[in-house]
Symmetry: C2
Subunit: 149 residues, 2 copies
Amino acid sequence: MTKKEKGMRSHCPVNYGLEMFGDRWALLILRDIIFRGKRTYGEFLKSEEGFSTNILASRLENLINAGILQRSKDKDDGRKDIYSVTEKGLDLIPVIFEIVLWSAKYDAESQAKRIPRLVELIDKDNRSLSKSVREKVKRGEAIVKDYLD
Amino acid sequence: MTKKEKGMRSHCPVNYGLEMFGDRWALLILRDIIFRGKRTYGEFLKSEEGFSTNILASRLENLINAGILQRSKDKDDGRKDIYSVTEKGLDLIPVIFEIVLWSAKYDAESQAKRIPRLVELIDKDNRSLSKSVREKVKRGEAIVKDYLD
DNA sequence: TAGATTACTTGCATATTGCAAGTTAATATG
DNA sequence: CATATTAACTTGCAATATGCAAGTAATCTA
């Protein structure tokens, strides 16, 4: 039984999600990987929201313990670790997309305005878009750049 | 400019969502209203995850400031306040449903197992289900009971 | 082999959380 | 009408989490 499971408040499905990624940082790491193709600690650190080094380290650990991320060594540079998304993590793409859609609707200054075609596709068919995005992420491709107008 | 907007880390749509409801409590309040038809402070307090009174009060305030909930007086009992979901809050139903779907898949002990028909409907067509659930929530109906087998 | 670079860890001040108890206003009871 | 309950908080305080700056170990680079 993992640390998370021991402290689980309930097995309500909403709560389970909150226990796994319900904080102000975890989904930003997934965003960085999925939308922007980032894969190393140093790349995450550069995110505009400004991770503290200790917070980033703890969140990476949490996500690995949750089975959402996995860590491996960079073959070409032994100093680097590569973080990638597991199948369980890839299944969060539809969740993230729904959040994007909601924010695009309600944040007047949303950066989502830079990717109107992507927002439109999410709105039309989140599931099938998620499926194709999943394959791109598996290949290590960033997806935002494909939709910048 | 609200407190939240002043402290906004970025206008990335993923981040905007996290700023609004990215903690371990906010979505539980929405769950209580949407799935269980709760509407008062005292009802939220009884949730199995165990809100502290101060945390519940602060989260209700945050959600009102975020435009997701609204507060009104109970006509029949002047001691009670009624919390209800705004249109902006109702638009979070698809987000919550995707979380439910993900948790149903990965939490072996998920309570989602008690509502397999609902999970199936989310999987088939989140959007159209969300639309009909939205109307039920507006009428103050709880939805979980409809799907308990 | 001296200097970067990467991925952390550590220390410490501040902020947030969680638990218990107290407060205020409205309603129910005798 | 006086008293007890109830509802929705607020307050105090200890414990935990966060944020910033600095430090460290392993690996590359010149």
